[in-house]
């Protein structure tokens, strides 16, 4: 089980801020493929991963990163702080 968090328009498109997901996905990209296959709203949110960022346990990561040992995955658009 893994906690998956969504922020900004990713959250709005998927329609929830977080959920617990049962997955055997080996990498972030595998998890994205699993989620996209669920429902259109996930497919829409993940349509262009080049415009998305991912954090694993609150550290920025790549979509090719392995999920082994990770408890929290977050998907969000490029950040606009400051």
């Amino acid at each position: 089980m893994i906690d998956v968090l969504y922020f900004a328009w990713v959250r709005e498109r998927i329609g929830l801020p977080r959920e617990r997901v049962q997955t055997q996905a080996a990498t972030v990209a595998d998890l994205v493929a699993e989620l996209s296959a669920r429902e259109d709203r996930y497919a829409a949110a993940f349509a262009d991963t080049a415009s998305l960022r991912v954090a694993l346990d609150q550290e920025l990561a790549d979509f090719s990163a392995p999920l082994a040992g990770v408890r929290e995955v977050a998907f969000f658009p490029p950040m606009t702080g400051g």
Partner: protein, 147 residues
């Protein structure tokens, strides 16, 4: 605590005065303040700032540690708000203190460049019923390359 992420407004004047007052051996203090723009003639819009509690503090603390390692700073402060802000309000501030101005300026610009693109905040401009997420700028991403 040099990193504060909060919904409440902060008092820019009081924070600046307190920071400079506590800067001790510093000869140079630089502050940057980001404001919600208040343009006459444009419809009043509020800014909603979403963030990632936990990661935000962690990311900013790492940036402050990196700045402190790169430059001889006597003090650093980062305050960043989230939630609903109105035009003219301060979104965030960075303050740096150093013996020499070049270091204080460089560290403040470094922190701003990283806050813009690496701290998990997302801004939405809401005018009336409609809201639009602020898009990240390529220039902000490329600004990181200079460090």
């Amino acid at each position: 605590m040099p990193v504060r992420v909060q919904a409440d407004p902060f008092d820019l004047g009081a924070e600046t005065a307190a920071f400079a007052g506590a800067a001790g051996g510093a000869g140079a203090v630089v502050t940057f303040t980001g404001l919600v723009r208040d343009l006459p003639g444009t419809p009043l819009s509020v800014m909603e700032i979403e963030h990632y509690p936990g990661m935000t503090e962690r990311a900013i603390t790492a940036m402050v540690a990196e700045a402190t390692a790169r430059w001889s700073l006597t003090a650093v402060l980062v305050i960043h708000r989230h939630g609903r802000l109105t035009p003219g309000e301060a979104i965030m501030m960075v303050a740096t203190a150093a013996a020499h101005r070049a270091e204080a300026f460089a560290a403040a610009e470094f922190l701003m460049d990283y806050l813009k693109s690496r701290a998990p905040f997302w801004k939405k401009e809401v005018t009336g019923q409609a809201g639009a997420w602020v898009a990240a700028k390529d220039s902000d991403e490329s600004a990181l390359k200079r460090w």
